[in-house]
Symmetry: C2
Subunit: 372 residues, 2 copies
DNA sequence: CTGTTAGCGCATTCAA
DNA sequence: TTGAATGCGCTAACAG
């Protein structure tokens, strides 16, 4: 016997019992129902093709034949084998998703958006997670996804520059389309990105409008494109407002609260008249709030604080945090749409026409920046 | 031609060009490399079997043959088709994971644990998310997973009682093993669970030990098993300490900060001498901290607060939150192990021997409960 | 150590 | 409207 471990099959109906195979010798542990299109065909007294047509909702089946077969399918508890379908049709209806841990609120929301939209468009999701960027792990993940014959991949790993170089090639060689999330555009790659620069600018302008004069920044790790962009937005706003010499106003954190706390200590030391800070994510902003408390600085009177993300806790910080809200779920959904349209070959479609699709974040004003 | 959409194939090498098929008529959009085991075999001048043996690392291949084939595989950029392998071998090496949104820190951590362990044990993960319990969504998810021939399913959806009834049957009918996460055990189902009751008891005992006398509780939604268990742990501790008439000391929340805030308002109204509260998750505890501030209650002097989860922000709350830390990642990993051992048929294995595997949470003491 | 034969479950021609 | 033949890419069983 080839194919399939021998298993005890359930007696679906007597008609198909010739197909039943009791293999106790192997110590069958579980009972696996294994009704195939053939069984259905035999019971219905038709060919497998007719059953196939019914399964796939083809029009060219007599309606009474169809209803009869549908009933038999229900009776037998038949469920089509997608593995076989994929092999024979050459389509897997499967998308690969490569995510970065799930430690951050943003990445999790992206994943939710992806799953939901994939579900709507009839794709299944194969998930791979990576906690840090390791070349051989990347290799194994690509191998896995390609061997699964995924029809597209969503790459949601932070990082810019060199690391990415080879990646696009790997994909174009394989012929599998890929959408990058939150990455710099380059060389025709499909990208879906939050407009972090716009968000950073918006946050900073808000602080200036509120009457703060010395707006520092605590950025995320330099290796993260998001962090870089938010910083550029901050710089844009300050330069447009006529500020120069921003060097001392910047400290780099690592996204965690602790680094936000230390960041503020460092900032006030070098810039004694600092009266506001744009923090690159809400967790670090939480650390900043603690540092301010310890320094005896009143927020927002002595120090204005704006974060980024709008995590669910942000509105309950003390004081409630003004922050840049990003709709990361939308980002995920958009990436699936883009992939989907590309797979269907609609290059002219609006979503794909642009290599980069931007999603705009929104400012949510709360107490931490309400100087007025 | 049957199977596979006609696509332009890359000219791998001249030897295999007879296999190449330029179909511009279909308007081939992308170039798909489609090297099969056959191509490798032809180039190597061996049978496909030999190639198959090399791919699967079988010992019975001459070492020079092996190296030669490996080189050819690399040259051609061949990557095995898992779909075909699955169909022929009857194994998919795929696990289905059904999660509840990803709105809560716990569920996300569970997923991380699952992914990591699955990766270690050679399984791929097909992910399905459900935001609320809808019967037909459940149906579609099961259909999807079964049709993918998953070798097991991890069910990580909250909910107890009736909703679940039919579910176990669906699985046993299908023959696909399932592990439930954080659910009540029943009827021989495999369950992996956090010992929430123990956690709740630990939290409450801690508050009593600290010298608090009236320990209220803000629970999660009644429909959640976790919430119920944590509440029972709270009751255990109080009853053991001789308290009775706990009715007024309990308020139900919905996991969100707002409900924690309102919960405290309500509690202090009915129980004026309340001096401590065990909150069923950290987000609600955050709301409690705000309410305390507004009520003019000093934490921890006037009010002791203990949460549950230990989200990354908890140590930066104001004041830092004492909480019950759950290693949800471990929960996920354990569920994969359990499934894996079950699939391999090692029923005698320790992990599977028990129908329920418990994971113990740990108390993390911070300022919010430090009366002494 | 290697090749031959057969088949996994389904879909795609084409013919009837 | 239906059926027969064929193959997707790979592996199991057996023979040599």
């Amino acid at each position: 016997m080839t194919g399939g471990k021998s298993r005890v099959r359930m007696n679906v109906t007597d008609n198909v019992n010739d197909n039943v195979n009791d293999n106790d010798a192997e110590g069958a542990l579980r009972t696996v129902k294994n009704v195939t299109i053939k069984d259905v065909a035999r019971v219905a007294g038709v060919s497998t093709q007719t059953v196939s047509r019914v399964i796939n909702n083809r029009p060219d089946v007599a309606s009474d034949t169809r209803t009869r077969i549908l009933k038999i399918i229900a009776d037998l508890g038949y469920s089509p084998n997608r593995i076989a379908k994929s092999l024979s049709s050459g389509r897997s209806y499967t998308l690969g998703v490569v995510g970065f841990g799930l430690k951050y609120y943003g990445s999790t929301s992206v994943l939710r958006g992806i799953e939901q939209k994939a579900n709507e468009t009839g794709f299944s999701i194969i998930l791979s997670l990576m906690d840090k960027y390791e070349v051989d792990r990347v290799d194994r993940i690509l191998q896995e996804l390609f061997s699964h014959q995924v029809e597209g991949v969503i790459w949601s790993i932070p990082g810019m520059g060199k690391k990415i170089e080879g990646l696009s090639n790997r994909f174009s060689e394989s012929g599998v389309p890929v959408v990058f999330i939150n990455r710099e555009q380059s060389g025709g790659d499909l990208v879906v990105a939050m407009d972090n620069r716009f968000g950073g600018k918006m946050a900073t302008e808000h602080l200036l409008t509120q009457g703060y004069h010395q707006v520092g920044i605590i950025t995320g790790p330099a290796g993260w494109w998001e962090a870089q962009q938010r910083r550029l937005g901050w710089r844009d706003a300050l330069e447009e407002a006529g500020f120069t010499d921003l060097g001392d106003l910047m400290v780099e954190g690592d996204w965690l609260p602790k680094s936000g706390e230390n960041g503020l200590y460092q900032l006030v030391e070098t810039v004694p008249d600092l009266d506001a800070v744009f923090v690159s994510n809400d967790q670090m902003a939480l650390g900043v709030l603690r540092a301010a408390r310890k320094l005896g600085l009143q927020v927002p009177q002595d120090l204005g604080v704006v974060g980024f993300d709008d995590i669910p806790e942000a509105s309950y910080f003390y004081p409630p945090l003004t922050t840049v809200q990003q709709n990361a779920k939308k980002l995920g959904a958009l990436s699936v749409e883009k992939l989907h349209h590309f797979i269907r070959g609609e290059e002219s479609d609006k979503v794909v026409a642009m290599e980069v699709s931007w999603v705009k974040p929104e400012l949510v004003v709360r107490e931490s920046s309400a100087k007025a």
